[in-house]
Amino acid sequence: MNAPAAVARRFAPEIALVIVLVVLPAILPYIGGTYDIANRILDWGLFGLGFDLLFGFTGLLSFGQAAFYGAGGFVAAYILVAPFTGNAVVALLVGTVAAAIIGVIIGYLSLRRTGIYFAMLTLAFGEMFVFLDFSPLARWTGGENGLSGVPEPHLEFGIFSIDINDPAGLYWLLVVIFVVGFWLARRMIASPFGAVLRAIRENGGRVAAVGHDVPKYKMTVFVIAAAYAGLAGGMLGLLQGYMPPDAFYLDTSGQLVVQTIIGGAGTLIGPLVGAAVWLYLYTLLQNIAGIGALWKMILGIIFVLLVTIFRRGLCGGAVVLWRRLRARPAPAPDAASAGAEPTRTAPESRRSTQRPPPTGPVVLATRNLTKRYGGLTAVDDVSFELREGEIRAVIGPNGAGKSTFFNMLANVIPPTSGTIEFKGDDITGLGATLVCQRGISKSFQINQIFPSLTVRENLRIAVLARTYGKFRASMLRAVDRDAAVNAGIDAAAAAVQLDERLDTPAAELAYGEKRRLEIGLALATRPQILLLDEPTAGMSPAERVDTVRLLRRIASGVTIVIVEHDMDVVFGLADRITVLFNGRKIAEDAPDAIQANPDVRAAYLGSQATHEPA
């Protein structure tokens, strides 16, 4: 494709947007619109750009965006009314920054929780601003009367200045701001930062487990949304010549949510479209006698229907349709992962692996690792050393403490006492994210992947953590053009044999492929130590054999600890086996020796004493 066409393709949405917005004034009179309505729609659209980043892409539903909208608006308005300056540019900037600062505070308080609690917290803090506005700060905000006397925009850019004194002028100003805001938001979404955000929405836990500092990402997008809101609020004051107190109201936050859903969350344009629908319904229905007063109720019903049945909103639905029309038929999944032939007879005596015994340096060690839960000791004083390049299996009967021990190795749970050392450094209690950054990665027993992202996008999240560290506010470069990242993705996909499926959404993979992706995610962080939690869980006998082969291939260059119940898998892979029983290590040896060990045999058949009572 030649350069101009390539550029056109990349910027297609912006170009389309500009065309629509430029043409709109010409059509306005025919569709019963005015500049004023258009301006309001654009303002809501701007407000919504930030919100869509927060909710549509990162999955954080906030009902308190009005706080930032109002704050930014009143700060900007006050600056102009006081007047501290006549330059609207300065006023808007200050307003935006003020909103962002408030965003940091509220974000810090609200992001401590998730889901419903987060939503309610944002709602509560949003309401707090209503009260703040009315009482203590009424002197500056005009309380119930709002702040009037906002002058027409006078924009100074150093040398030259622009004066805007009609709705048409305001329209073009808003168009510029919106298009720039849209472009910025799109770049953010296409950046590494954006990729992580989208993954957080799907499975925040896994994002943290592959080494990203999820709280920082959430806080950053929260502040960005606040900034957009603040800017939109400032523009509202300029639009109306007056800053109304209802900018702070719950209604405003709610309207934003409804508009975004109707237009389609996760599309960036959704809020704009939703605002258009809202305002049009309002003006349209007002004039129809009888149901004029019902317009909001009708809107509410549409909203409920959309959320229930058709979740993508207008734009979202269009995008889905578009993708379906363009999609190629997916290649058939592996034959190996389809179906299961149960083997009725156990295989013959197991042969252990032919690998030479590990002699490298100790890379991972635990000393007297203990975990107690109240009166119950799950892991009791386990000391353990892992050598570079080894494949170690940890086995034991039910309740032996394997999972607890394993989760401590992965730094998912902190020990009650004892330490864990990684290449000589104490990593006890660092947490899974930091430990992953250092080089220890875990794959989960139950698939923790990102279902609506493609295999490529899945692996990308893990590779990003390795390439960029636990947090990088890299918002402007396009992540799909990053050579280092792409190389990492290709390598990981090849290692787990998913290179043919890179562009398939993870949800469409067969179970065995998903399991491979699961391992691939851990591998993509290029760990030195790979912790595998029951990698063959839920697999048919054929799949198990394949998995063992795959793991043997991966094993060169990585040290592996595997928790497993399937003894064939264990014997097919392990160099050494550590046996836990009642939380204690009762044996650690080569596979053949373990198999012959009488204590181990007795432990499995349960003829030894069991736990102390809780």
Partner: protein, 266 residues
């Protein structure tokens, strides 16, 4: 006033989350219906809400149990809008006044201050309601099922009890409590379609402070919130509401699961 907070506690000694958003709408909804006999108003308000609550749960909410939390919030929010707007459409947007019943009118001299009789009565009604609620939860079979169901829904199912039907009841009860709260509150504030929004926020603050899933937590939370409001109102009225939020923020930072909270979600 603090009493209002306790109403929040009533509606929100709550079991099924998600009803929260509807709460506000319900409160408004009911109060409009009846402007005659107060006792009848209360009873009708409560019963009507119970029915509405059940209908809504059956019809819509139950589709959402498997859906992510955000969807549940959105749908209850949407239902709230529809109900509030429906109210506005039927009754108009102006505020109405519902007078206190004649048997509760007048003023009581409390030595410290003069206090409307109705509010004392309200306190009494709330106390009674709380006692009734306690009784139901701790002394009846239904209460037993509910308490067990909150803790381990599956096990209750295994023991032969149809838990979904119970949760339906719980949702209905929550709605009913909200309706009751709305009616009782009506003479104190004005009645309008939007009256629910305040209650919504205040009840949420109560939950955060008191902790989720705990009967006593809600009560204590309500009392604390009420006290904060009352005390700050005497000192510096402008800041009273804000102080409430500050208290909530404090609890969040220091003890995220609330004073009595059972779960610590993160």
């Amino acid at each position: 006033m603090g009493l209002t907070i306790i109403f929040g506690a009533l509606g929100v000694v709550n079991f099924a989350h998600g009803a929260l958003y509807g709460l506000g709408a319900y409160a408004g909804f009911v109060t409009y219906e009846y402007t005659d006999s107060f006792v009848a108003a209360m009873a009708d308000g409560a019963a009507f809400l119970l029915v509405v609550g059940i209908i809504i749960e059956r019809g819509l909410i139950r589709l959402y149990y498997q859906r992510p939390a955000e969807d549940q919030i959105l749908v209850t929010f949407g239902i709230g809008i529809v109900l509030v707007e429906g109210l506005r459409a039927i009754f108009g947007g102006l505020n109405r006044n519902m007078p206190a019943p004649s048997w509760a009118a007048g003023i009581v001299n409390l030595h410290v201050t003069l206090y409307p009789t109705y509010r004392i009565d309200v306190l009494a009604i709330v106390a009674v309601a709380l006692v009734v609620l306690y009784f139901v939860l701790y002394r009846t079979r239904l209460g037993l099922i509910v308490r067990a169901g909150i803790e381990d829904q599956l096990m209750v199912n295994i023991l032969g009890i149809n838990v979904t039907r119970t949760f339906l009841t719980v949702f209905g009860l929550g709605a009913m409590a909200a309706g009751l709260a709305g009616v009782i509150n009506a003479p104190i504030t004005t009645v309008s379609p939007d009256m629910g929004a305040d209650i919504l926020v205040q009840s949420f603050v109560v939950i955060v402070i008191g902790g989720v899933g705990s009967f006593w937590g809600a009560v204590v939370g309500g009392l604390i919130a009420g006290e904060i409001l009352a005390i700050t109102a005497m000192i510096q009225p402008a800041y009273s509401q804000v102080m409430l939020f500050a208290a909530m923020a404090l609890v969040l930072i220091l003890r995220p699961q609330g004073l009595f909270g059972a779960e610590g979600r993160q």
